[in-house]
């Protein structure tokens, strides 16, 4: 109970809650022309990517298993809904469950890889895993319609509803991350990341914890993938591409990997990318990519710990300055 109180009372939580409340009010200002439709769509995408990055953060940020194949889980979740609704004509929830089951299988494979490989080799294996699924998706025509992709039909639901759902999903992932970080699970994850041998010698079955991390993270990613598929109503083999994987990890890294605030702050990246694309339009698409890339490089050069570390660094800097002042006074 103490933990919850401390989490709610912290200053950043209040700021984020205020922003979320403002965003939640957006649909009220919608007019006949639908001028709020685009901001609502953007908010929905930002929330989804924050949620994706937060679930990636559990595996890579906490446990140190640097997966660049998270599109695998995302794609499985998306395709499960597509195939389930379009081909198998089953209930939506059954379809989502199917995605989770397949994701757990793939996560288990990645977990077994994690027992044997670490560092770059693990990263490469994770990329290969996503690529395998991409190949299956783009060649198994009977199941996935290959490059055409699958479109689904759903009752028309206002965008605002999806935005509220995305917000709820995002908040859920943040809460899950918070409780994992504060529990035995999170401490052990970080211990495995920092010094696996020592973690073992302190009684942690590190292989099992690495497996837990990938299972939790994979399941969450799959669920979010299913949600996004249901929202955009179409899926094609691009969902397995490294573009998705890298977008997920950019959001987490630019904000601050391994911290709860990282992905939340990193959500700004999605916004920036979309806005840039809007400003420059399709004729200058490459220019927007260049500008976004430049901004990313700049942030990583100035603050490798991510944007969310800035207040902490500033606080440390101020304390340093104050203690220096005190020292000078004493000298005088």
């Amino acid at each position: 109970m103490n933990l919850i109180k401390r989490g709610i009372k912290s200053k950043p939580t209040i700021i984020i809650t205020a922003i979320l409340m403002l965003v939640a009010l957006m649909p009220l200002f919608d007019d006949a022309k639908g001028s709020m439709q685009l901001p609502i769509h953007l908010a929905c995408m930002v929330f989804c990517y924050i949620a994706l990055a937060q679930s990636w953060n559990i595996l890579a940020g906490l446990c140190g298993q640097f997966s660049v194949g998270h599109a695998a889980f995302y794609g499985l979740g998306s395709y499960a809904v597509g195939i389930g609704l379009h081909r198998m004509k089953i209930n939506l929830f059954l379809a989502i469950l199917m995605g989770v089951v397949f994701s757990i299988i793939v996560a288990a494979i990645l977990g077994v890889i994690g027992w044997k490989l670490s560092g770059f080799y693990y990263t490469m294996a994770s990329i290969a895993l996503a690529e395998c699924l991409a190949v299956i998706a783009s060649t198994w025509y009977e199941l996935t319609s290959a490059q055409q992709g699958i479109a689904i039909y759903r009752p028309s639901i206002p965008k605002a509803v999806f935005m509220y759902m995305a917000m709820a999903i995002m908040i859920a992932t943040i809460i899950i991350f918070y409780f994992i970080r504060k529990s035995k699970l999170g401490t052990t994850f970080v211990a495995v990341r920092e010094n696996e041998n020592l973690a073992q010698s302190l009684g942690a079955n590190t292989g099992r914890y690495k497996m837990f991390a990938v299972l939790i993270s994979g399941t969450m990613t799959s669920l979010i993938g299913s949600f996004m598929m249901y929202y955009v109503q179409a899926v094609d083999p691009m969902v397995f591409s490294s573009a998705i994987s890298s977008k997920i990890l950019i959001v987490a890294i630019i904000g601050g990997i391994g911290t709860i605030w990282g992905p939340i702050v990193g959500g700004l990246y999605v916004l920036l990318e979309e806005v840039m694309r809007g400003v420059f339009g399709s004729s200058f698409a490459s220019l927007s990519v260049m500008i976004v890339g430049g901004i990313l490089t700049f942030i990583m050069m100035v603050r490798p710990e991510g944007i969310s570390a800035i207040p902490k660094v500033y606080k440390e800097w101020r304390e340093q300055k104050q203690s220096n002042k005190l020292l000078k006074c004493e000298e005088k």
């Binding site: 504060k182 529990s183 035995k184 401490t187 052990t188 970080v190 211990a191 920092e194 010094n195 041998n197 020592l198 973690a199 073992q200 010698s201 302190l202 009684g203 942690a204 079955n205 590190t206 391994g258």
Partner: protein, 243 residues
């Protein structure tokens, strides 16, 4: 027998790191293990901890066979260790690092935190509980690693060169701490050490390894006059130390 290593052999290709090493430790003892560089001391420790699997022989704690057991199970049997280079978990705070050790016996955050607090108080680092490990100095970091190991509630604690890199006043603080661990927490200690002064002053018995073979054992006084040991390891160095 509390802890027993019998006829343990480990070779890396043609190099025999441990050749039929046998030793016994009683409950409550402080036993030292010395030997020149490359004598196989750390290999023996790694085998006890389960990081390295012995080719043959057996290692038993209170009758339970430890060879072929994974490290985390050996820890739960009651053996903890500190590492040669005290890295610990650089990005965790001292409190959380120790809690990590406490989680070995419990899953409850509350119990683990309480236990970790008690252990940190025991070594007198309470004021540094919220500090990150990589911001601690070398002595505090060694203490931190010691507390984290102690938090797993071990019966046998292996210390691998705990005193390396400490200055002389820190060494005497650490000796006092190690003695308190032995007497107050009733933990049996098995120590690898290069600083001879330390090993001579705290251990009741010493084993000497050379080229993977156990060449002598006995009280520090007996060891220091054994011609074999002097030839293999102590040589002129110890004579100088004596004078």
């Amino acid at each position: 027998m509390f802890f027993e290593v019998s006829e343990v052999t480990k070779s890396y290709g043609g190099l025999v790191a441990n050749d039929k090493v046998s030793l016994k430790i009683d409950k409550g003892e402080i036993v030292g293990l010395i030997g020149p560089n490359g004598a196989g001391k750390s290999t023996l420790f790694q085998m006890v901890q389960g990081f390295v699997v012995a080719d043959s022989g057996s290692i038993k704690l209170k009758g339970t066979e430890l060879v072929n057991k994974p490290t985390y199970k050996i820890c739960r049997e009651g053996i903890a260790c500190t590492f040669q280079h005290a890295l610990l978990f650089p990005k965790l705070t001292l409190g959380e690092s120790v809690r990590m050790g406490a989680y070995c016996r419990t899953s409850s955050r509350k119990k683990a935190t309480e236990h970790a607090r008690r252990m940190i108080e025991f070594v007198g680092l309470t004021d540094k509980e919220d500090k990150q490990i990589n911001k601690l100095n070398i002595y505090d970091r060694k203490c931190a690693e010691l507390v984290a190991a102690l938090a797993t509630e071990p019966e046998l604690l292996l210390l691998d060169e705990l005193f390396a890199g400490l200055n002389s006043s820190e060494v005497s603080d650490m000796i006092a701490l190690v003695k308190r661990i032995n007497t107050e927490l009733k933990v049996t200690l098995f120590i690898i050490e290069h600083v001879l002064k330390v090993i001579m002053s705290i251990s009741r018995r010493v084993y000497v390894l050379d080229y993977g073979k156990l060449i002598a054992s006995g009280t520090p006084q007996e060891i220091s006059v054994s011609p074999l040991v002097i030839k293999a390891y102590l040589g002129e160095e110890y004579n100088e130390l004596e004078s």
